[in-house]
Symmetry: C2
C-alpha cells in the first residue's frame, strides 16, 4: 500500500488491488449473502462505499461458489462494481462446532444439514470462484477466553494452514491474498503469530481472533503486539471491529481496514449511531422529535427524515425503517473513518480520539 | 381536470390540486402507514411517482392524526414532496366488522383493541389533519357478493354520509374532496349512486366497492354504469384496482386514477410483473438466469440485477429482495399506465389492450 500520511502510528493511504484501489482507513460493510442487509448495489454506490465484505461460508452453500462464478463472480452476481473482500469461511464455521484436524474443518450446513469440508487449499479455490478482490486464508479462530493450549494450537494451525494457502495452486493470482494473525490476548503469541505469518509474505495481514469476548483493554495491547511485527508497506485489517472507539483506537495503532456487522445489526434493532452517542430510536422521547437522527450527519436519511417519522415506521414494523436506519448507521461509520483519515493528514487524530472518548465508551 | 387527449371513452389529462398537478391516467402506490412498504421517499422520487395513497385508518391510530399534523402533515411527516390521497378509513374499518349505524362506525383498533369512532364529519377532520391533497368521503363498502338489501343500504348510507361530508366544517378547503360511488354490480344502483353523488358536486369521484370479490366480467359493466353519470371535467378514481388488465380496461372506460397494493404485495411474495406475464421468481428455472426480471423494463433493478441474483436474495430471505422486487413491480405498473397515456394520445389504446390480453388474464 502507498502511505500518504502518518500521525503517530496511524497511517492514511491507498491500497491497490488488480481491479482498482481504495482509501484507508477503510470500513467495509458486511454483505454476508451477497447483499448488505436491506441495502442494494445502488445504495453502496450512493454511500461511497469502496470495499464490501462477502461471506465465503454462506455463499459456498447458497447459491454455491460455482453459481456465483458462472454469473460473473461477486461483481457480476451482485451487480456492484466496488471491491469485494471475502472471508475464508473459518470464522462462521468455527461457530458451528466443526470437526477440526490438521487437514481442515468438516461442518454441517445451517441450510440443510449437509456435510461440507474446508481446507486451506479449498478455501483459496472457493474464494477464487467467488471472484474476491481480496481473499483471506483459512484460520483457526478460538473464542475468548480460551485455555492457553487452545490459543497456542490456533496459532500453530493457522500458521501451517497459511503456508498451505500460500502454496495452493492459483488460477487467478491477481487476487490479493491476506494472511491472518491469531494469538488471543497473549502478547508473545500475537508477536510470534505475526512473525510467522509475515514470513510467508502475504499481500496484507488480517488480525483475527479479537473482539470475540475480551475487553477493549485486553484487545488493544494484543493488537499492538501483532502490528509491531507487520510490514509498513502492507495493509492491516482488524477483523470484526466496527464500534466507534474500537475503530479509532485501532486506527491510532496503525490498522487500515475494518469490517463489522455492528452498524447494520444495530440499525435493524432500532439503535442509532450519532455524534451524541448511540440511542434507541423506539424511546418515547423521539415520538414527536422533528430533528434528524444526528444533527451532525450529512447522510441523505438525516437530510430528509425526522426521528419522529423513522420511529413511527419502526414502531409499526414497516421494512422501510431498518433500511433507512441501516443507511444512516453505515453512512455514519464511513464518515467516522473518513474523518479519521482527514485527522491523520492534519495530525489531529489524538483530538478526534479525545472527542469520541467524551461521548462513547 | 384538463383533458388533453381522448381515445374512445378513455382520456389522458392533468388534475390540478392546491399543491400541484398530476398526470392521468395515474397509478398511486399504497403507503398504508406513511411509507410504501420497503420503499423510501427517495425511491418514490426516483420512480417518478406523482401521487401516493396513505391510509387514514392506520395513521389515525399510529402515530395519530394530531402527531402527523404537528409534524407538518403527510408531506412534513414522510419527507416526500409528492401528492397524497388519503382514503377515508372506511374500507379498512369495514373489514373489522364494526358497529355501523346512520351516525357512523365504531371499531376497535388492531393495534391495542381500543374503541374508535368515525363519522362522515370526523373522517373529513382527520384527513384535514393528515394534510391530504385529496381526501375521500367516508363510505359504506360491502363485500361482493352481498344481499341486494345490503348493497341498497350501502348506496343510501354512502349518499347520506357524502352529503354530510360535503357540509362538514372545513378548515382547509383547498384540500380536494372526492365522493364515492357504490352499488355493487347492480347497474341501476351504480347509476343511481353516481347521480346522487354527482348532485353533491365533489372535486372528483371514487368508484368504490369493486374488485372486492366479483369477476372482471361483473366489474366492468358496473364501472361503466357509474362512469356514464360522472361529469367529464372531474377525475374518476377506481379504488383498489391495479392488475394490468383491470387497469387498462378501466382506462378504456374512462377511469383516470387507481390505487392498489397488488404490485407491492406480489413483490414481497416473490411474484414479478413482466411483459411476458407474471411469474414466481423462486422457481428453480430462474436460479442461473442472467437476464433481468423483464427484458422490456427500463427500471433500475432490471438495468442492474439478474433474476439469478434476486432469486438468491429471496431464497435466503435477504430483505434487499422484497425491496428490489417492489421497486420493479411499482416501476412496471407506473410504466404500464404511462404507456396507456401515450396510447390514448396516439389513438392506439385498443392495440395496447389486445397486446396485454395476449399475455395476461
Amino acid at each position: 500500500m502507498a502511505v500518504s500520511a502518518v500521525d503517530g502510528s496511524a497511517r492514511a493511504g491507498t491500497v491497490e488491488v488488480a481491479r482498482g484501489a481504495f482509501h484507508t482507513p477503510c470500513f467495509m460493510p458486511v454483505g454476508t449473502r451477497g447483499a448488505v442487509r436491506t441495502l442494494s448495489a445502488q445504495d453502496l454506490d450512493d454511500l461511497g462505499c469502496e470495499v464490501a465484505l462477502a461471506n465465503t461460508y454462506h455463499l459456498m452453500l447458497r447459491p454455491g461458489a460455482a453459481t456465483v462464478e458462472q454469473l460473473g463472480g461477486l461483481t457480476g452476481f451482485t451487480g456492484w462494481g466496488g471491491l469485494f473482500l471475502t472471508d475464508s469461511g473459518g470464522f462462521q464455521v468455527f461457530s458451528l462446532q466443526p470437526k477440526v484436524d490438521d487437514e481442515g474443518v468438516v461442518f454441517r450446513s445451517t441450510y440443510d444439514g449437509s456435510t461440507h469440508r474446508l481446507t486451506p487449499e479449498s478455501a483459496v479455490a472457493v474464494q477464487e470462484q467467488l471472484g474476491a478482490d481480496i481473499q483471506m486464508v483459512l484460520d483457526v479462530c478460538p473464542p475468548l477466553p480460551s485455555p492457553p493450549e487452545a490459543v497456542r494450537l490456533a496459532v500453530d494451525r493457522t500458521a501451517a494452514w497459511a503456508a498451505r494457502a500460500r502454496r495452493a495452486p492459483r488460477s487467478r493470482p491477481h487476487q490479493a491474498l491476506f494472511g491472518i494473525v491469531q494469538g488471543g490476548v497473549d502478547l508473545a503469541l500475537r508477536a510470534e503469530s505475526a512473525r510467522r505469518t509475515v514470513e510467508l509474505d502475504f499481500d496484507g495481514y488480517g488480525i483475527g481472533g479479537l473482539s470475540v469476548g475480551e475487553s477493549r483493554d485486553e484487545m488493544l495491547p494484543a493488537l499492538a503486539a501483532a502490528i509491531e511485527h507487520l510490514p509498513a508497506d502492507r495493509p492491516r485489517y482488524l477483523m470484526g471491529v466496527g464500534d466507534p472507539i474500537g475503530l479509532v483506537e485501532a486506527i491510532a495503532l496503525g490498522v487500515d481496514m475494518f469490517d463489522c456487522v455492528l452498524p447494520t445489526r444495530l440499525a435493524r434493532h432500532g439503535t442509532v449511531l450519532s455524534s451524541e452517542g448511540r440511542y434507541q430510536l423506539k424511546n418515547a422521547a423521539n415520538a414527536a422529535d422533528e430533528g434528524p437522527l444526528d444533527p451532525a450527519c450529512p447522510c441523505p436519511v438525516c437530510a430528509r427524515h425526522s426521528r419522529a417519522y423513522l420511529r413511527h415506521l419502526l414502531q409499526v414494523a414497516e421494512p422501510t425503517a431498518p433500511r433507512l436506519l441501516t443507511l444512516h448507521n453505515v453512512a455514519w461509520t464511513l464518515a467516522l473513518v473518513a474523518e479519521a483519515r482527514v485527522a491523520i493528514g492534519a495530525g489531529t487524530l489524538d483530538r478526534l480520539r479525545r472527542d469520541l472518548a467524551a461521548v462513547w465508551t
